[in-house]
Symmetry: C2
Subunit: 333 residues, 2 copies
């Protein structure tokens, strides 16, 4: 692997995304991508006594599904790299504590899935045969932790997004027939001073554009190189802002750009306002939908850019703005 330009890493022996798995909750099962997920849940608890325990079970079963589908034995997995939105990432650590695989915890808020894929790809070209990346989120545990108890029945503003309940996982391997991870562009933290914790798309859009512009500059590529440019969870509002920002820099991304948060829910019927969000948004939409599109050669080149808002409820209460980050990964066949 080698660094090109300011921030991009180009792989000499591109790692393969050899398998993916995804499990989602009931609301995601009612959405337009339902048929692409491996499993859909009937309720938010899945037989557990708390939402946190349910979220741990979801990531555990997603990784278990991934290992089952891939046919790779646990002993042949060198590492699992995972994270989530819960305080101290307990969904991942409790969900994967029995996995018996070396564990690296990562946190990039909703950018975590692409962050874990990026580190996995570096490990695979470096020394590993197989690395698992996984993330999870849960609407109820996230609302409870970041906003208000659900029992209060607070009204959600139109800019709010709906945290995806689910988990997505990918197996990154040294050998395989693709799709291949050809480049990664890890992002910088970008903070434009937005303070509204109910307008995450607006807070993260500048980071998305910063990483996308850097990726184009570093690789010499332009929007038309990709069949699809996909952001993680900017939602409807963040997507529109990003199209405008990119236009002001001379790039027209409108025709081949979409957002996982826009794709996962039906805005007209599902009352999810600005769309989906959460660590699982990009993870399930990639693992469920985009990976299959690549496998079936319906798309051949995608740029997946997961976006994260690096705040917590204390920072908002202390009047802080919301720093955003975005990591990009090129996946090609």
């Amino acid at each position: 692997m080698q660094k090109i330009g300011k921030q991009t890493i180009k792989f000499d022996a591109p790692p393969t995304v050899s398998e993916c798995a995804s499990i989602v909750g009931p609301k995601e099962a009612d959405g337009p991508l339902c048929k692409y997920f491996d499993q859909t849940l009937e309720d938010e608890f899945w037989g557990e006594k708390s939402w946190e325990k349910a979220e741990s079970k979801i990531i555990k079963e997603t990784v278990s599904t991934l290992i089952g589908k891939s046919g790779v034995s646990t002993a042949d997995v060198d590492m699992v790299i995972a994270g989530d939105l819960l305080n101290q990432c307990i969904s991942s650590s409790f969900g994967l504590r029995d996995s018996n695989i070396p564990f690296l915890g990562v946190f990039g808020a909703c950018s975590t899935f692409v962050e874990s894929m990026s580190i996995s790809a570096i490990c695979v070209e470096g020394f590993a045969k197989n690395v698992i990346c996984a993330t999870s989120s849960h609407f109820c545990s996230a609302e409870k932790q970041f906003r208000f108890p659900l029992e209060l029945g607070n009204q959600r503003p139109p800019t709010a997004q709906w945290t995806v309940t689910g988990s997505g996982a990918a197996l990154i391997s040294k050998s395989g027939n693709g799709p291949f991870i050809t480049h990664i562009t890890p992002g910088k933290i970008v903070d434009m001073g937005i303070k509204d914790a109910n307008s995450m798309g607006a807070a993260m859009a500048p980071a998305f554009c910063d990483t996308l512009l850097t990726h184009f500059q570093d690789t010499g590529r332009n929007p038309s190189y990709y069949d699809a440019i996909i952001s993680g969870d900017l939602g409807h509002i963040g997507k529109e802002i990003s199209i405008d920002i990119m236009k002001s820099h001379g790039y027209n991304i409108k025709s081949n750009y979409n957002d996982c948060g826009v794709m996962i829910f039906d805005k007209a019927s599902q009352d999810t306002h600005s769309g989906g969000s959460g660590c699982a948004c990009c993870a399930t939409v990639f693992s469920g939908y985009w990976f299959k599109q690549l496998q079936n050669k319906k798309v051949k080149k995608i740029l997946l850019i997961a976006t994260g808002a690096l705040m917590n409820s204390t920072s908002s209460q202390q009047g802080e703005s919301i720093p955003g980050i975005a990591h990009a990964i090129s996946i090609e066949i």
Copy 2:
């Protein structure tokens, strides 16, 4: 780099730890390692309005000190890999949001410093010239978040540890004269069912021993190979438990094993019970003390094993046990 044995990675071109920096709070300044730190603070706020903002300032200034001492310009740093104990790792993301360096957030509780050094070393042998690793913790913000508000004046049990206020940072570089990172052994999650959140050393000791045993098996080394084997923050109780566990496996580590949590405070005079803990414990004691011992050739081979408890306050309230993890790194001249 290559994988050897079950979990260890051996570097073919070992990355250099080219510089370190550390800043600590007033209690750490009263401890036996005071003279080794770059800066000591007179109070826990450092002119900020909250402990969280103070912790962000500490990691920011530590990274700034590191860059200043190293003489490397920010533009030549490929990545910063950082994490902390605050919810959603806000100390790192707020502290480093103006750094203008690509950022990867990591979370391994108090094992985070060695986790970030490990990923940094992989990146440096892979593609990077310079990577910064940094972690922070703060006694007051940690007590407030994980246990009780300090204003309550709760009594601390004898097994409790004292979260270190401070930050440690290291610059890992492709070229340099050492000390060199020769091996890393990323750990598995080990949960022996301990539920007492005031007895972290006991909860983490099994993970420490699991990683240490695996490191010995993978490398063919034994305790006497190292001038010092150093755990992150097992404290007095966890240290004794670890010596016993290792003895039961046929390894005598008593003569050359120490713990950063034991070293940073004076047990007799500082009322810190079982010793120091926190992301900054291992980070400041390595960056302050051990790095200088290596530079001055007072020790030539160390094995640093940072230990983490992967829980949060909600998991404890829901009756969960405390999963532990430990990551090891060999640093040699």
